[in-house]
Subunit: 76 residues, 6 copies
Amino acid sequence: MTDSWLTSLITATPQEGFELAITLSRRGVKYTQPDPEVLHRLRPDYANSADSLTAASHVIAVNFQTVAAANNYWRT
Amino acid sequence: MTDSWLTSLITATPQEGFELAITLSRRGVKYTQPDPEVLHRLRPDYANSADSLTAASHVIAVNFQTVAAANNYWRT
Amino acid sequence: MTDSWLTSLITATPQEGFELAITLSRRGVKYTQPDPEVLHRLRPDYANSADSLTAASHVIAVNFQTVAAANNYWRT
Amino acid sequence: MTDSWLTSLITATPQEGFELAITLSRRGVKYTQPDPEVLHRLRPDYANSADSLTAASHVIAVNFQTVAAANNYWRT
Amino acid sequence: MTDSWLTSLITATPQEGFELAITLSRRGVKYTQPDPEVLHRLRPDYANSADSLTAASHVIAVNFQTVAAANNYWRT
Amino acid sequence: MTDSWLTSLITATPQEGFELAITLSRRGVKYTQPDPEVLHRLRPDYANSADSLTAASHVIAVNFQTVAAANNYWRT
């Protein structure tokens, strides 16, 4: 991918950090399967499976660890 | 999502931190599948499966690592 | 849950820390499925499956990381 | 369990630390399924499955992170 | 493997760090299955499976933790 | 196992560290299933499965976190 999508891990709030973790999780998928048609077709597979949603939340949790550490946990 | 649901990772007690980890885990699911009808329909799938419950506990454990580190493990 | 079950991550020994990690792992399950009847019914499913037991041990390992860090690894 | 099996995370060498990580992984299983008969019966299930062995190695890796950190990575 | 492919974990930007995490994830596969023919044949299996793509993103997330820590999270 | 196979986590380069992570991952398997005949027989099971290869790469990623931290990420 040649577009610039990740210039910093710093976010203003924990919630923005969580949403960045979601972006990272989705980018991990897109780098592996760049075809948007395929990704669109696969969506019902995981969006309607409890275990797939838990697995998606797991990846977000791992990426949120990274983003939270980068932001010193937004301690004030 | 436009609502504000995560303004801080700091909690008064470890137990509140654990409950925040549960919130983070559920939000990871909701960002992926925002439709409450679908989530309600899927509930029996994982709430009655030992392996799904273990997987849910796993995600909570990962998020609890983040919250616990943010709170310096509530050391006094 | 309104009961107080987690007031500190500090334990006297690594073994007590490991047992706290088990408690955390089980609580992660109970928050997701609070019905003790269901949990009792599911027990044979995972207690007699090698893969389920490995998955349970995995969650304990993640929680033990948290408890061990909280206790500075019980270094003396 | 009333026996004392974990009094310290400190080991003399990385290899002993890795073996302690294996002990922790097995204890995580035994706390969940204490019956040695059942554990013995389940052994062929995972010892002859590539995926089960990878999962076992995964749990060991997580516990080894904890033990290695406790020992400051045995840096000299 | 005798070629040199990993001389540093330091990258100029978080995005390059994320791409290095992808490289690490793929190398983990290639060390286990070095035959490019087999890898090419397996590609449709995971590139068209939602759960496989989530699993791939999970591995990338773990490696990104390492790369991000190595770069002090690209804090300026 | 009585042979000495892990005397240090320190490596000269990140690549050697990655290869040590692979060794750790394989040792985790061998401690659980020491029989080389069985391991040899199981190899086609995971070496030809996309999901098994991803799982193997995942374990390597976890062990690489440990090795990279031990080496202070080979920062110069």
